[in-house]
Subunit: 485 residues, 2 copies
């Protein structure tokens, strides 16, 4: 058993040895993805896709509760349509895939595979919006998009990725700004409550805005290795797209008016965030809310009489209680099964063997801290089921606390470029809080000199200093700096 | 009220006058789709997409109960990969969209946007299947695919469409054939029980098989206009793809063996089938199982005291009972609201005005037969809720009966080409049952002379005659013939 366990553990590169290799080891060994012959395009395997399905289900419910409706836009954007909003096309044209032929015929106008769908939504809005009665439209779609990236990495940066893109259009700027903030808060709540990932909400600097946006908000999370990951974004467009696409409506005073728009999205990147926030050298650690299997039952010495029966009884009681439970009744050794369950990040495992049955109990182990608890099988398994439910809640809380602790430990407050350099050299990567004058030249210089870029201007500001960390002039904001995925 | 009602009805072309126009009127007026500037690509609007979401939810549950897992393959197929299976590439290459550039760079090898994903699944199988322990794999994915069609029509034939494609791989031919049949039965059950569409199960003739398949099974439905619509297909591939893609596994006797494959799919065509099976001159008629709104509450004279309150009370009781209910409390006239509810095919509507409240009752109208029932509001609305549930069941049964009646009326048994011609001339389009010798030349001639093609060889055979309807030689099968969408 120990030997087998050892064997599995050896198969993943240790996080401290090579974080990037550790990451790709996990995505492969936990059977989340498989590579294909098209660079940057991956197969999302059943176990990986089931995580995405859980993310979808929870977020989709949240969106619908906030009044959003799902739609489906085409995947193709004619070049002339993409070209209509100047900033937008400048941002995206260099990285789109172009369809030039249908069958054997050359197309009159080439089509790009959507890198994002603002232009398609705008064309549609222009067709369906005439009056203030037609507003707001609160739309969302779950699709894949394509961006022709040079360097790619499973979940974090791929040429095709899955996401949801919300697109809304409102009669007034106020309503649209409210929506932008509401959806950022929705994402933050989702990450914290369901994924157990603490995030910092803030506004992007001008240089880091979405192509075509008036302002971009984001949530930023810190990974195990001290690098930042943007986990979701929400954009306010003002009426720029409306003007470019000639979307107008008759307002209550019977005047033609330009509406205001937003868009917001999260992607399969969230799976990358889960891996790098919670994973360890034994593999994946999954938050219970999105784990395809929440509890796995592992029979020990299952050839002995009564063991498999008891294990299956436990399984069916857990399932009846609405827990996503499974059994590993393969003929592998228990040690191998434990390793496998750890690799897959299953939040709770139950070990049940002849001795346990004799004692009228089983052993429950939580993945994130490897804590073992003996749990009674009495009361027709009622205690067991209740304990399993309670553990699943505790696991979310425990995972959040660990992630928050890691972030706090790796967040530094600095007052000079020199201090930033020394701090990062001494402690490794992390979030740096430092003041900024608002000047793009200083933002660039911080990155050039220290290697950390602006992640966002957090909503929760702290008055660390009154001078810009770079030029020493009067500071406008505290900025969160970091190296980013 | 009558005037408004009249107005709405006038807006749709009558089915008998111009069926094709009636169809496109409905897809637009019921707000299912909107056209875009890319020919053959449409926006599926919230009301249309909600129908698809219900179809997805029900089918996905059925698939998972049968042991299938969802995955997600890339949308791009390298040309060399598409070329690996000869029949398959011949069937699909003429109608694929080609990506030739990524950003400003020309790709070394062009990529097609998947028209179907057999080749991608095969590449993946080759990577992950080594031993009999790795089999079977029962996979499915919900994605969109692209086929560069010349003539297009919303839901029925579009260049991009949504579908699910199941792909499975098995150790033996028997297992794979069983799977092909199981999934065809699954589709038939779904269409009949949930969509109230009667279907005929059968096998496609050789000339009508899927490109690369050993055999193709299909379910065929008959539309209002007497034309046939293929509502779902299931293919058995034998080991042809496995050989072309070099997928082998070590069997229990330690020998390298080729596995056997299947694929099966249904598409957003099903929405077209719903429209053309159940719709009428007042608009859409939706089966309760997939209707976005199952019951709509329409307050009459809603400015009068107590009316809106009562309507909202009814609404919340219906919702509490798990019914998808909505209220139309706009300031339009009741007549306009009734027309609107009919256009959108809402299965049950509840009319509630001051007089109804006085009488302690409301009026319930079922969409498919416009039957009105007075229903008591007593017992804290318990009678009302129970009646609504019962009506929803009755509606499904009533819709199925009407559709079956239409099909029976339009199904003809013929013994000669001449009889086929006369029958269709006299009665209009429909299904023709006639015997066939199995010779492709006869199949072609029937189509040439009578205009009806082979839809399938039904599993339920009837011995109509012992001679082929075309050549008079010994008949092998009874074939179902028809004009197809």
């Amino acid at each position: 058993m120990a030997k087998n366990n050892q064997k599995m553990v050896e198969e993943i590169t240790s996080m401290n040895e090579d974080f990037a290799k550790w990451y790709t080891d996990i995505v492969k060994k936990a059977e989340l993805i498989e590579y294909t012959s098209v660079k940057g395009c991956m197969v999302i395997r059943p176990y990986g896709y089931a995580i995405w399905e859980n993310i979808q289900r929870i977020l989709d419910t949240m969106f619908k509760e906030l009044g959003h409706e799902n739609v489906c836009m085409p995947m193709f954007i004619p070049e002339s349509l993409l070209n209509k909003e100047k900033d937008h096309v400048e941002g995206f044209a260099p990285e789109v895939a172009w369809v030039t032929h249908g069958g054997s015929e050359k197309l009159e106008e080439r089509l790009c595979v959507r890198p994002t769908s603002e232009t398609l939504f705008c064309e549609h809005y222009a067709n369906i919006i005439q009056s203030y009665r037609d507003l707001p439209k609160l739309y969302n779609q779950w699709v894949s998009v394509v961006r022709w990236e040079k360097t790619t990495r499973p979940f974090l940066r791929s040429r095709e990725f899955l996401w949801q893109e919300g697109h809304t259009i409102h009669a007034t700027a106020e309503e649209a700004i409210d929506e932008t903030e509401r959806m950022l808060n929705c994402y933050a709540r989702f990450c914290e409550e369901y994924l157990a990932i603490p995030v910092i909400k803030g506004k992007k600097t001008e240089s880091d805005k979405f192509a075509g946006a008036v302002s971009t908000y984001a949530i930023e999370a810190l990974m195990h290795d001290g690098k930042a990951l943007q986990a979701g974004t929400s954009h306010y467009f003002g009426d720029g797209f409306a003007k470019a696409f000639d979307i107008q409506f008759t307002n209550k005073d019977n005047k033609l008016t330009y509406p205001h728009q937003t868009s917001w999205g999260v992607t399969t990147r969230l799976i990358g965030a889960i891996i790098m926030t919670h994973g360890d050298d034994n593999g994946l650690v999954l938050p219970p809310a999105v784990a395809p299997v929440q509890v796995i039952v592992i029979p020990v010495a299952q050839h002995k009489e009564g063991v498999l029966d008891k294990a299956n009884e436990i399984l069916s009681k857990l399932k009846d209680a609405g827990i996503r439970a499974a059994i590993d009744d393969t003929d592998n050794s228990p040690g191998w099964k434990y390793s496998q369950a750890e690799m897959k990040g299953i939040p709770v495992r139950i070990e049940i063997g002849p001795k346990d049955i004799e004692n009228g109990a089983c052993v429950m182990v939580t993945r994130h801290n490897r804590e073992k608890t003996a749990v009674s099988l009495e009361n027709s398994f009622e205690t067991l089921v209740e304990t399993a439910k309670q553990k699943l809640n505790e696991v979310r809380d425990g995972m959040y606390a660990l992630a928050l602790e890691n972030r706090e430990k790796k967040t530094y407050t600095c007052r000079s470029l020199d201090e930033i350099n020394k701090t990062l050299e001494q402690n490794g990567d992390g979030f740096v809080k430092a003041m900024w004058c608002g000047d793009e030249a200083c933002e660039d210089k911080v990155k050039e000199v220290t290697g950390v870029g602006s992640r966002c201007i957090p909503f929760e500001q702290e008055q660390i200093d009154d001078k810009c960390v770079c030029c020493g002039k009067k500071a406008k904001h505290m900025v969160l700096w970091g190296k980013a995925y």
